[in-house]
């Protein structure tokens, strides 16, 4: 195998490959990245046996072929190479030569034959359906922060994705708050079972997908497959039953409070400075036309901020983990947010005024 390509074009892809390869596991064939040069294209593959990644970049191929090299060192070498074209060649079996075209640098990496590289999971083309990339990315943005990190509740360690008629739905929860988004698809979505997607793959999509055009999605029993911008990503699904989330979404809330998003965000950021960092409890005092945020009085002091809002309802105090308010607000679009509740000790709904596609459910904390 022999090919030539520009350093930075390859470096970018190898950096992604290394991110996928689990650095924690012991060195094995899985620590290697697979390179396959054929007909003007270099195919790059990496996997940690859960997430698998494949990308194609145009290169000048002189001798087609394939091999695998230790990704960590390959990346390190590429990083230090001078700018410009680099020649790559598998000399005899077992040695991979890295040589900038106009410099006298000669690196040889040991290779492992590509035959030994595990087969990555795949699915037939006709199982894919397409969905606008921009919308898909937005769905991830609106939900991913609610994923639980508690390994004892592994079935909450990912984003639940399902089909609801012509809508694609994503839900994430850590058991205390929940984020929900549903978006219509322009083309019919084939039936598939509810799946739980680990955040690693979703974070990669956020980074790698351009946001233009569409993403192709296919779901099997064990994996979800995604294709976008010449890249293929698949991930093993989290096995287990996602909680019955519909049960905890209040059908209707009695009282509504409307307030500007930037004002509320700024106020939370300020007041949270004096909020006790272990419980993260912040107080929301509601009265007609007025919302007061405050921290608990502690050894450090106390913070209070008053905001003007649209609210007609009884005077009430609600205690919340302020992060559960901050995170949805950070990704919320539009100018105003609706905070809805029925009783101060029951679930709240936080939703944008301008969109009905998404909302967040938050359980309050004990008041004292």
């Amino acid at each position: 195998m022999k090919f030539t390509c520009e350093k930075n074009a390859l470096l970018k892809e190898i950096a992604i490959a290394q991110e996928i390869i689990s650095s924690k596991s012991t060195i094995s064939i899985l620590s290697n990245v697979l390179l396959e040069a054929n007909e003007g294209t270099l195919t790059i593959r990496a996997t940690d046996m859960k997430v698998a990644f494949e990308t194609k970049i145009p290169v000048e191929v002189s001798v087609p072929g394939s091999t695998t090299v230790f990704c960590d060192k390959f990346l390190g070498i590429l990083r230090t190479m001078p700018e410009g074209d680099i020649e790559f060649e598998e000399k005899e079996q077992g040695t991979f030569l890295i040589k900038p075209v106009f410099k006298k640098i000669d690196f040889r990496l040991k290779t492992i034959s590509s035959d030994k590289y595990p087969e990555l999971p795949s699915i037939a083309e006709n199982f894919y359906f397409s969905f606008p990339q921009k919308q898909f990315k937005e769905m991830i943005t609106q939900t991913i922060f609610s994923v639980s990190e508690d390994e004892t509740r592994y079935y909450m360690n990912g984003v639940c994705m399902e089909k609801n008629e012509d809508q694609l739905v994503m839900v994430a929860t850590d058991g205390r708050r929940l984020s929900y988004i549903s978006k219509p698809s322009s083309e019919p979505i084939p039936d598939f079972h509810q799946v739980i997607i680990p955040p690693k793959a979703l974070n990669l999509i956020q980074r790698l997908a351009s946001g233009e055009g569409s993403i192709s999605i296919a779901v099997s029993d064990k994996n979800v497959f995604l294709m976008f911008d010449n890249q293929k990503l698949s991930t093993a699904l989290i096995e287990g039953q996602f909680p019955n989330y519909q049960r905890v979404i209040p059908a209707e809330q009695k009282y509504k409070l409307k307030v500007g998003i930037p004002e509320l965000l700024e106020a939370i950021k300020r007041v949270s400075l004096l909020v006790e960092q272990k419980s993260k409890r912040i107080y929301l005092e509601l009265s007609e036309g007025r919302l007061v945020l405050s921290s608990e009085e502690s050894e450090l002091g106390v913070a209070k901020e008053e905001l003007i809002c649209d609210y007609e309802g009884p005077e009430n105090v609600i205690a919340l983990n302020y992060v559960y308010l901050l995170e949805p607000l950070r990704v919320m679009e539009g100018s105003s947010v609706l905070i809805e509740y029925t009783e101060p000790n029951r679930a709240l709904t936080i939703r944008p005024v301008e969109s009905t596609e998404y909302f967040h459910i938050v359980m309050p904390m004990q008041l004292d």
Binding site: D150, T152, K278, S279, M363, M365, D368
Partner: protein
């Protein structure tokens, strides 16, 4: 500042002597069954005359004191008595810290108008415990908790000793290095090597030199204690502690069924104690001792508080299996909760309550019932099967 260090005398043995009047005045040894491999947990002063000490192998105790009365450990009873005694302590001052089942430190600063001089207060306290439970205790009084602890040891048993303000250094000098709490055998050997064999000698050495020789933390500790300054052994900042239970098997055990059963039982005992003090903990620890006496502890910290005995057992068993080769034999198993905090954290509402949440409510309800009706005995059915004998647990 006035601190009391209170230490119950030969606590386990004394409780036995109170509960069984015929044992009074006799050498009582509480611990493993003679003929097994366990150790002495506690012994009465009568037994100490024979050279019996706690933590001594039971066989050795039998050899030294053949006429001793050997009793099994009734931890539940000792805890019950301990709790009642600690309640008396708390009626003397709101600021007290339990150190162990038979030890506590009390901040008696500013209680003169209530109880009179420190000596008078201590006498009242001793009398109250003696009258109610028939038990004696030793009290050390000093300006700080560290010296108070040393003072409580000084006139044991049934002692009362006050180190007057300003008398700390002479008191430390009379004790000598060996009796200073917190100096282990290793440090003591090192000090002997260096020729630093009295507190007075160490006082002459600059802090930096001590730290170079013994390390930063030990150096600082030593520098303070030879001057009678509290190095902060029981500062109130230490709000967390551990709760644990362990069992030494009469013979080495490898059978997972027995190990599981034992662990479940121990988990229940630990959780009952946690519920009793309304504590919470996120860290579970498993202790294993192998036939060659090598002991290892494995721990895991969760993002949430451990809710029920069942959950504790599952986590413990998982941790054990993860770190322990299947089927190989062990001598001892223990389970504990670490970083236990009694300070209530504001409760966060749950959208999807955990299954352990329900068990927690059940466990707490059972505890409440038992408190109201002490004769009531509610136990998990799986714990009713004949239990393998576990001395010293």
């Amino acid at each position: 500042m006035t601190y009391f260090h209170v230490d119950l005398d030969a606590f386990f043995a004394s409780v036995e002597q109170q509960d069984h009047p015929d044992l009074r005045g006799k050498p009582v040894i509480v611990g493993a069954k003679p003929g097994t491999r366990g150790v002495v947990s506690a012994c009465s002063y009568e037994a100490r005359v024979y050279g019996v000490r706690s933590a001594m192998p039971i066989a050795e105790a039998v050899r030294r004191c053949p006429e001793g009365i050997f009793l099994p450990v009734r931890m539940k009873r000792y805890r019950e008595v301990s709790r009642q005694i600690m309640e008396i302590f708390s009626s003397f001052t709101p600021s007290w810290i339990p150190i162990s089942i038979d030890e506590a430190t009390l901040d008696m600063t500013g209680t003169d108008t209530l109880f009179g001089s420190p000596e008078a207060a201590a006498t009242t306290l001793k009398k109250r415990v003696k009258d109610t439970f028939g038990l004696t205790l030793s009290i050390g009084i000093a300006e700080n908790r560290y010296v108070a602890k040393l003072a409580s040891e000084y006139r044991k048993p049934d002692g009362l000793y006050r180190v007057l303000p300003g008398e700390e250094v002479p008191f430390i000098d009379t004790l000598g290095l060996k009796k200073l709490w917190g100096i282990g055998v290793k440090t003591l050997n090192r000090l002997t090597e260096l020729g630093w064999n009295t507190p007075a000698k160490i006082r002459d050495i600059p802090l930096r030199v001590i730290q170079v020789r013994l390390g930063k933390a030990t150096g600082e500790f030593l520098y303070r204690i030879v001057r009678g300054i509290d190095p902060g052994i029981y500062t109130t900042e230490v709000k967390s502690h551990s709760l644990s239970q362990e069992t030494t098997f009469p013979i080495d055990v490898g059978d997972p069924k027995i190990l599981k059963q034992t662990l479940l039982d121990l988990s229940h005992q630990v959780m009952v104690r946690l519920h009793q003090e309304s504590g919470r903990s996120r860290t579970v620890a498993i202790k294993v001792r192998y036939p060659n006496f090598k002991t290892r502890t494995f721990r895991r910290t969760l993002p949430h508080s451990i809710l029920s005995a069942e959950e504790l057992f599952h986590l413990g068993w998982e941790l054990f299996q993860h770190n322990h080769p299947l089927g190989s034999e062990i001598r001892l198993i223990g389970i504990g909760l670490e970083q236990v905090e009694t300070q209530e954290e504001p409760l966060q509402g749950e959208l999807f309550p955990r299954e352990y949440e329900k068990q927690r409510s059940v466990e707490k309800a059972i505890l409440e019932l038992q408190k109201k009706h002490p004769s009531l005995c509610l136990k998990k059915a799986s714990l009713l099967f004949p239990r393998i004998n576990s001395p010293g647990s």
